[in-house]
């Protein structure tokens, strides 16, 4: 297979979905031994392009060529036969099966028609070793962490000895260490003569990893070339069009001093959260930073009663009255945006209108007090859509057809209607494009102006910086450090890392 130099190109690819031209005459080329960064905002068409290569979609017109020969890719299986492997952004784990089943689901070695498990184990061990993983093939998928599951996705891609591997935002659920390991693996694949396409939102990742860059916007290729020709600001410029940078938020503080609205004392959940103490001021943006698995999400879940707590007290302070409150009751007072917006936050098959009004239905009741006043609902929904600049074809568009950024805005809009005093936002800007990020931050900013208090979690440290009034650093379920809004990236990083080492030493 090494005799012929592998080269894949796509020419004039057009793909239309109902109502959208996802790809408009896209040209694309990659050859072996190269890592190409594919960059674009959500909805730019990069996933669609890769889905065509991966056999999940078929192009309407245009050609795909491998080494100059026109090919068609019928389905994912066909793609892998032609040497193309796809590592998806969302884990495609079959959680109740073993690691080896997850890797070999289409490639079991058989003996007399029966699966040869011992041979399968050997195959898996070999591949896992190649990517520097010492996981046991017979372990259940659900018993390993998301980082390891991501490694299994890659291991699975390697089963077919692919010549081209597509990575779709593979680091979105990885810790720093796992990320470094992944990059090592990708570079090693390059040395082995594999071509790699690397889709990401995080510009910092591509320098030092990728050889080439291609930037997409609105279904077209904006620019492409060697990475050296693409400094960060050029990419940002290409990504967002002209007006992208104007929307950057400069943060002013709107804290009302000494007006605490929420106090948490000695919150515990064994093995998960330890002695959590925190307070939240009126008009404050409190950033919680920690590495993957530090307990950030678990803290929010515990506060609002989604997970049980073993001890601890929560006080809500309203008009100077300090009142103990149960997590379940706190949930009623909080606008909660969860990390997993696809599953936890949104009703995917339902309309934008229903999703926006669901948390606030009581406000739309008509005179009878039983039936919903559709007109009232419609007006209110229209207002929210306008206010948050949600891009929809109509109120009755299904939420699952929206881009990530717009889905996030729907969730925020839902809570805005209900107008709570507190917002807990878990990864509100994860996986959405540059423009949407700025818009979401603007919305948060406006909330604080009107005296709301925000607790925000983000794994993208740059996004938190300069945006929060105060930072808490979490590690292994404890709050280990606190910084004022002047904190630097290095400070936060160091606090979370050094504490982590301490934890390991114990």
């Amino acid at each position: 297979m090494n005799n012929s130099h592998f080269k894949l190109s796509m020419q004039n690819i057009v793909k239309e979905f109902p109502g959208v031209k996802a790809l408009d005459k896209v040209n694309f080329e990659i050859e072996q031994g190269k890592i190409m960064a594919l960059i674009g905002a959500n909805g730019a068409g990069k996933s669609t392009l890769m889905n065509i290569l991966g056999g999940i979609h078929q192009q309407d017109t245009g050609e795909i060529l491998i080494n100059g020969k026109i090919i068609t890719i019928k389905d994912p299986l066909d793609a892998s036969k032609k040497g193309i492997a796809f590592v998806h952004q969302e884990l495609t784990a079959l959680s109740k099966l073993r690691i080896m089943d997850n890797m070999l689901i289409n490639d079991y070695p058989t003996k007399l028609g029966l699966i040869d498990d011992s041979e399968a184990k050997v195959i898996c061990k070999k591949i896992l070793k190649r990517i520097g993983s010492d996981l046991a093939p017979e372990d259940l998928m659900e018993d390993i962490g998301p980082g390891d599951q991501q490694m299994i996705e890659i291991a699975r891609a390697l089963v077919h000895k692919p010549k081209l591997i597509l990575f779709d935002e593979p680091t979105s659920s990885l810790s720093k260490k796992e990320k470094d390991n992944l990059f090592k693996v990708i570079k090693k694949l390059r040395e082995d003569g594999v071509a790699v396409v690397y889709i990401t939102h995080l510009l910092d990742e591509i320098y030092g990893l990728c050889d080439e860059v291609m930037v997409m916007r609105n279904g077209r290729v904006v620019s492409s070339g060697l990475i050296d020709e693409f400094p960060k600001d050029r990419i940002i410029c290409d990504l967002s069009g002209e007006d992208g940078r104007k929307k950057n938020v400069t943060k002013k503080s709107f804290i009302v001093k000494d007006d605490v609205v929420l106090v948490v004392e000695d919150l515990n959940r064994s093995g998960i959260l330890h002695d959590i103490n925190l307070s939240l001021n009126k008009g404050e943006v409190l950033g919680i930073w920690g590495l993957m698995g530090s307990g950030r999400t678990e803290l929010v879940r515990a506060l609002v009663g989604l997970d049980p707590i073993e001890s601890g007290t929560i006080y809500s302070i309203c008009d100077g009255h300090k009142k103990q409150i149960a997590p379940h009751d706190l949930r009623q007072l909080v606008g909660l945006v969860t990390e997993d917006r696809r599953n936890e936050g949104l009703f995917q098959p339902m309309t934008v209108a229903i999703n926006l009004s669901i948390a606030n239905l009581k406000a739309f009741l008509g005179k009878s007090g039983v039936f919903i006043d559709r007109k009232k609902e419609k007006n209110e929904v229209e207002k929210t859509i306008k206010k948050l600049n949600i891009v929809v074809s109509s109120q009755s568009q299904q939420v699952r057809t929206l881009s990530g950024g717009n889905q996030q805005k729907v969730i925020l809009g839902r809570w805005l209607q209900r107008n709570p005093e507190l917002f807990f936002l878990d990864e509100p800007i994860k996986g959405i494009d540059v423009n949407a990020k700025a818009e979401v931050k603007n919305i948060i900013h406006e909330l604080t102006i009107s005296g709301k208090s925000i607790l925000i979690i983000s794994s993208e440290i740059e996004e938190l910086l300069g945006f929060c009034d105060r930072y808490l650093v979490m590690n292994r379920g404890s709050i280990t450090a606190e910084f004022p809004h002047t904190a630097t990236k290095e400070q936060l990083m160091e606090a979370s890392l050094s504490a982590r080492e301490k934890g390991i030493m114990q």
């Binding site: 299986l77 784990a93 079959l94 089943d101 689901i105 079991y108």
Partner: protein
Amino acid sequence: MKNTNILINRLLKYGLYFALLIIIVFFAYIAPSFITANNFIDMLHTLAPNLIMISGLAFVVLTGAIDFSVGSIAFLAASIGTYLMVVQKVPLIITLSVIVLSAMIAGFLNGIIVEVIKVNPLITTFGTMLAYRGLGYMIGGAKYTPIPESLAQLHNVKIGFLYMDTAVAILIVVILYLIQYRTVFGRHLMAVGNDRENARKLGVKTSSISIRAFVISGFFAGFGSIFYMIQGGYMTPRMGQGLEFTGIAIVVIGGISLFGGEGSILGLLTGIFTFYIVENGLQHIGVSPYIYPFLRGGIIFLAMYADSLKTKFHSLRKVRT
């Protein structure tokens, strides 16, 4: 905390065996006639046709779908068979082939409606449950028909100390177990039940797998109906009635999750055994038969409850740390 979790998991896993043991001891204490070898061999004989009829259903449940039509498929296939061998005097071997074949076609139709026309499996098989039974009535009428002696005489054939149907049923379960764990089809079945969307992304032909599961479900429903007729000597209008519910209950009691992708085919044996042992035991202590349906309902409820508990504890254990 961790220890209690493990304990709860164990309890949910092995709790059935405990319960079974207690039930057996209880009945044996009250009615000594219950704990005889003969009683157990008879009981295994009685349950064998039903076990065969629902064995394929377990595959459908493993994919996360449901098949309410097994009882009706059995009835329809047997109606066709009875018509052929009793009315038309068609040779036995052809009749038996047609029974099995027609049952497979009925299962295939279920699969096509679910996978191609995309109707929810519950609705689909609920519909075909009525339709297949109706078709059976149209062909054979709602009457008791004695089957030919050449077939009926097989009813007391024994293999070792077991009745033939018991042996066949056990053999089928073992073969299905092999298919589940040692063939690519079996693993794909589990993959579809685990997460259909992910399985599809990984290149598993989910529709094909699901259709094949329905065909297998139909096949065994038809195959089992033959043993049902042999055992009774009659084709009866009530054949397979209620099997759609008891069947699913037995599958679930056996530890095969209604959510799909979890459980072993071998669970069918414990499932059906639990179900029948309670009724058999009650007969031996002479309780009014009117109480059976109530108890059946209770057992089904407990099994479903345990199933949902299992899922709940699993997700608790999975809380990311």
